[in-house]
Amino acid sequence: MNDLTPLRRVGIGARHDPEPVQNLSRRGFLGVATGALLLGVGLPIEAAAQTRAEGPAAVAPKPGTRVAAFLEIRPDSSVRLLSPFVEGGQGINTGLAQTIGEELDLDPARFAVECAPPGPDYAVVNGLRMTGGSFSTRSSFEAMRRLGATAREMLLRAAAARLAVKQDSLTTEDGRVIHAASGRTLGYGELAEAALALQPRDDVSLKDPKDFRWIGRPVARLDRRDKATGRTTYTIDIRLEDMLHAAVQHAPHLGAEPQAIANEAEVRVMAGVHSVHRLPGAVAVVADSWWRARKGAEALQVAWTEPVPDGIATVSKTFSSSAMLAALKGANEPGIPAEREGDPAAAFAGAARVIEAEYDAPYLAHAQLEPPSAVARFTPDGSLDLWLPNQMPELFQDIAAKTAGLAPEQVRIHSPMLGGFFGRHFYYGPANPFPQAILLARATGRPVRVLWSREEEFGMDAVRPLSFARFKAALGADGMPVALQTTAVGEGPIGRWFGALFKSPVDSSVVEGLDKKPYAIPNRRLDYVKVAHPVTIAFWRSVGHSMNDYFYESFLDEIAAAGGHDPFDLRVALLKDSPRHRTLLRAVADLAGGWRRGPFAAEDGTRRACGVSMASPFGSETATIAEVSLKDGEARVHDLWIAIDPGSVVNPAIVKRQVESAAALGLSSTLLEQVVYENGQRQAKNFDTYPILDRERMPRVHVTIVESGAPMGGIGEPGLPGVPPAVVNAVAALTGQRVRSLPLAKTHLSGV
């Protein structure tokens, strides 16, 4: 999910549910009244941001430029920033405060940041608004610097008028305008109203990076205290006056619908129960507390429509993840070309040796710790307030409006802090609770909060697709690879949910991590074979890279072994044309105290080995080394060393923590995680049967940042993809067992 260029070319057309983004940007580009451009600080900025008027007279601001849509400078010179992005732990609120504060000349600590309501001003990701694809900082960095600089210039201009002095005789210092000659100063708060009424200039100059005071520094996270004291409000914490709580029971098979409810009358009279409802694919109980609603929902005895008997076209009565994998493996039709280089056929014909392997990785749950919920409230004028976890406010506004039978501008979207997301909170049809909240609020005439129990969430979460790839490599007489043929089979979330925007027949979210590798293998062929999943599939932290870098970098170690090369040395040799990657590989080896594959005896007496991998996710580059031992047939990962080159960084402390966080999720998926279907149903319903990485399995994580000065890359996801292959390559070095199917928990490992 790196290249969003096609989003610039969004057309206008009817929307189909499976491709919800098609019609989004038309409103995004056209949907604001000219009057709103003149808005000053005295008016509530939400009102301005949510004002729309479509028609010939409507003029859209260039996203990210209208100061008043983003900044409210308060009398005490603190700033309320309405962010285009939603915070869910990645640190974007702090990064934005640093970036804007740098040019505005205001300490980032004086920013309060919240997610902005829908509005065209916030479409700063290539003309679209989303929090994902590790896009936030890199897509908005220049615009947000310019926004801060533009606001500062307006403050200076207002101060010059106020003090009747020339503007160039003024300077600023952390929230104050200073006239050095007379010793007079004015706080930003005193100037805000006059300044924000001025016409912004579009030619302000930006600071020389060598003068940066906040950008590039480990500024403390703005949200640290509230989160350490339970004061942060997530969607699950929203409470409204007169609000009812709803719990749901979903159909056991995706696509089934409720028929008769045998005990509806009994449940209606349970303590606190308000009402019982049928919803698409679910039944709901509404009550005066969630616990009472849940007890009611779980007690409902529902007859559901029957799923089809078998097959993988739908979630059938006998659908299973193993049958799905067999279908992926059995798809032998010619693929759609995704990458072509050189003459692979000739290279294979003349090869000294050919090796082949097949790899797969399972469906994965997001398992973010905040179960999903939504709160819907209709107001007397018929408009709707909706609080919900989301990574795309405008898209959710559109779909909510359609669900409620309203115009989009009648829906106010509130986007609280996310209790983890990892890709969970895009629009995934039946995997989102907000339509249920809307329907129940409509039906009851009261505000309704729908919360899915953890069990319902494990049943309905949209999953990282089960994935499969086939590799074939030709080796020359020197053991070096001369050709590589790869086939990726399956379906990805880009094709499923953004297919209307991305017309390419190749789904980038299926092949990313298999393509655009830096290695000098002269003859290459990568094909994509589409096999659709019947289940709800999702973006999951690092998307296609989450499995494909495991596939590719593991097979590269197989090539090294077949050719008699050390896997680290082979990578160095194959990176002969890429100094950036060679530098990164050296950096990770230095961080680890040198490369040694092993096996070797560690100081504590355990036998250990190391694995190495590289990845190019989301505009950044990573090199990873893992050190592993065995205990009771399981891999124990002691250390992960990760070198990341994102070009340049805003906050090195947040970057390191994000890399560590992504690495933890990558390790969790390597060791433990799989969503298994049997008989059309997911087997795991909670953390007891879907274990995730716990503290005991957490390795030391060492991160070094290499700022090469290349264009800025992403941060939230890139730490993940290198971890699975580094760990699995270490396991191979340690045991001789090449594990081609994750998670490792399926395989009993033994020392050689």
Binding site: A228, T229, R231, H245, L369, S661, A664
Partner: protein
Amino acid sequence: MVSLTINGHQHQVDAEPDTPLLFVLRDALGLTGTKYGCGIGQCGACTVLLDGQATRSCQVPVESIGAQGVTTIEAIEADPVGARVVAAWVGIEVPQCGYCQSGQVMAATGLLKETPKPSEDEIAAAMTNLCRCGTYNAIAVAVRQAAA
């Protein structure tokens, strides 16, 4: 009606006796700092102190509490150990998404109230709450700092 002592205050709550304390805190009393994560005692996001002991409140029926005092994250800084734990959490900048961190802070406070100078094994045994953002290493540093 069930009678409870929460953060030093008496409350009368209309709830069935088997209602987990977690949902009484969150829905009846509006103390939403305590989080629902799994409901089966696996994740620890709902950790509170019961008479000073870290306890997963999703597994505590309100009828079982009796005279025991409940302390939630909302009052944790009123406890000197809790205040030290919070200061360490803030100083180390432990939280990412933050959702599990109320429970982590409560678990750490419970540990240090009982064992002011815990060994690494004692820390490992007490700090078992899940964190999907993988802040475990920062948590370990913060616990050691709060114990120092």
